[in-house]
């Protein structure tokens, strides 16, 4: 593998609450090469989104960097002065969010909000930026972009707004796009369009994607590699097809087993959909030893006493379980 574009090494994120400090994210490592797509999967509250914030250098109280390094092209992000970091955001690392409804300023036209990116990061004048805005909207397949640039966000549908968000995020052809559940708030058909659009544009611009989602199916379709997070840690990381065919960690197995499958009823008869029993532990009360232990069917004494170390798997994969396989 060539030198990675983004490398996260042993990242810890501390959450301070009531004078105490908790590790919301611990010992998370992953790397994304240029143009590559990595999926980060996990339940709500497992630390996916704050990992993304850390990558953007946007951790704010009560969150802070507890340790580890995040490097973009070899340069440590958290050592950059604020002004340099700001230039990085939007220009080299961009992000789109779950909520296209609230992520656009209700009082500016979408054209202006896209144009602002060119003015801000590409040093364009307003008239040049406006011309490029129409192109940007055309690229995200917004019909009649010449008229749409004058629209306000509330005049657009959810899918259109997410397209505008993508246009804003990709305006300056960033090296890395962080997509934080970009399709969760959208219809299934619109979801597919948006995902296709993101892939198409990122492939054209050579932009790497960090895809954050709880939708395993989506991630499997989009990403070459998948990292599964549980309670602030990456419990398994493998190539996408590998993780579906041979999941190693009991949590990953549980996630895959709990996916409803079309046609399964005809083959296997009527069956109850599998679930993972129990709930995600709170950050303030992570169990000792393996964090998945209270919900794990394979748990034994060693899981309670010893934290499972990361075990390497072929092709740069890893799993964090005493009883993997």
């Amino acid at each position: 593998m060539s030198a990675p574009l983004l490398e996260v090494e042993n990242l810890s994120i501390a959450l301070s609450q009531g004078g105490k400090s908790y590790k919301a994210v611990e010992d998370v490592s992953f790397a994304i090469a240029s143009g590559e797509t990595l999926g980060l999967v996990g339940e709500s509250g497992c630390g996916k989104s704050i990992t993304a914030l850390a990558v953007m250098g946007l951790l704010r109280q009560p969150l802070s960097l507890g340790g580890g390094r995040i490097t973009l092209d070899g340069g440590d992000i958290h050592n950059l002065p604020p002004a340099k970091l700001r230039q990085l955001r939007g220009k080299r690392i961009a992000m789109i969010f779950q909520e296209p409804m609230t992520a656009l300023n209700p009082l500016s036209t979408v054209g202006r909000q896209i144009a602002e990116m060119f003015v801000l990061h590409a040093g364009a004048g307003w008239s040049e930026a406006t011309d490029r805005t129409v192109d940007a909207l055309r690229q995200v397949h917004v019909p009649s972009p010449e008229r749409r640039v004058k629209d306000f966000p509330h005049q657009l549908s959810g899918g259109m707004r997410q397209r505008v968000m993508i246009a804003i995020a990709l305006a300056c052809s960033p090296d890395l796009l962080i997509a934080d559940e970009p399709t969760t708030a959208l219809d299934v058909t619109v979801q597919a369009e948006i995902v296709d659009l993101m892939q198409e544009l990122c492939a054209a611009k050579g932009t790497a994607i960090l895809m954050i989602s709880h939708d395993l199916g989506l991630v499997a379709n989009m990403c070459r590699r998948v990292a599964v997070m549980y309670a602030g840690r990456i419990v398994e990381q493998q190539a996408a097809d590998e993780i579906f065919e041979r999941p190693q960690h009991p949590y990953t197995r549980g996630l895959i087993a709990s996916l409803p499958r079309l046609g399964a009823r005809i083959v296997h008869g009527r069956q109850r959909l599998q679930e993972i029993s129990g709930v995600v532990p709170a950050i303030t009360a992570f169990p000792a030893g393996c964090r998945f232990r209270p919900r794990c069917q394979r748990a034994t004494d060693i899981c309670q006493s010893n934290d499972p170390p990361p075990t390497p798997l072929p092709e740069d994969g890893l799993v964090r379980c005493h009883h993997h396989g």
């Binding site: 946007l58 939007g90 992000m95 969010f97 992520a103 300023n105 602002e116």
Partner: protein
């Protein structure tokens, strides 16, 4: 669309005051200052002097018309200063938080604890009477309302998706404040500014009444009232007309503010459109 009585009536009152102020030299029938004639002193309203004359025989109508210039200047300029100070402090305090927020909030509470008229009196006592010191005194003493409002609005907007998004897209703090936050909090701020302008006109009247505002012989509504207080039983027109002018202008501004609040609140706008 619903008929917005307060907006139109308020707008009409205020517009009348502004037009009268602008056209003062044209529509005044006498010179407001130098046309004194003691032979005509304290004439009741009549054909020659529609609002009567004052103790020096000057035409009250002309003085009220010219007084509009001073009263409106004071009201609008002082409120502009208040709004600029209040909004910039409130915006930055709400957005940055931390020690700056503590400092600004402390200062705001301090300003709210001292009656602003007393504070303005103190400033006027130091600077001496006159239009400029009046503007400074009134402009420095009641910014706390717009500051509090701006801060509170920013606090609730700060966590909105588009403000977060702007941060993530690499907007600088100032750009976020001016392009994302300020336009979205402008509605309530305009409303409070129109109410504040009415308050400033009243404060000017009060200060002039106390002899610390506009120096005689130049007419302002407040100083005219102040001069008229001894003749209030013998020549009530001396105080009725400047009083009425203040009343109409301030009422107009307050109604205008009320009407603007209805328009600028997106929820009420959606209900009616």
């Amino acid at each position: 669309m619903k008929f917005r009585a307060n907006l139109y009536i308020g707008g009409a009152f205020f517009a009348t005051a502004v037009i009268v102020g602008v056209l003062a030299p044209v529509i005044a029938t006498h010179d407001p200052v130098f046309d004194a004639n003691l032979m005509n002193a304290e004439l009741p309203p009549g054909w020659e002097y529609p609002f009567g004359t004052d103790a020096q025989g000057r035409d009250i109508y002309s003085r009220v018309v010219h007084g509009a210039r001073i009263s409106l200047t004071v009201g609008l300029v002082a409120q502009c200063i208040n709004s600029i100070i209040g909004v910039s402090l409130g915006l930055t305090a709400g957005y940055w938080g931390g020690w700056w927020d503590d400092l600004v909030s402390g200062l705001t509470n301090l300003m709210l604890a001292i009656p602003s008229l007393i504070f303005a009196l103190a400033i006027m006592a130091i600077l001496g009477p006159g239009l400029v010191s009046l503007l400074i005194a009134l402009g420095l003493t009641s910014w706390s309302y717009s500051c509090r409002l701006a801060r509170a609005q920013v606090l609730s907007l700060k966590s909105q998706g588009y403000v977060q998004a702007a941060k993530i897209l690499g907007y600088s703090d100032l750009r976020i404040m001016f392009t994302q936050l300020l336009p979205n909090i402008l509605g309530p701020l305009i409303v409070i500014a129109t109410l504040g302008a009415g308050g400033s006109i009243l404060a000017e009247a009060a200060l002039s009444f106390l002899g610390l505002g506009i120096r005689p012989p130049y007419p302002s509504w407040g100083s005219m009232l102040s001069d008229a207080r001894e003749q209030i039983t013998t020549a009530p027109w001396l105080s009725i007309f400047p009083g009425l002018a203040i009343f109409i202008t301030v009422l107009g501004l307050n109604l205008l503010g009320d009407g603007l609040r209805d328009i600028l609140d997106p929820q009420s706008r959606e209900r009616t459109s």
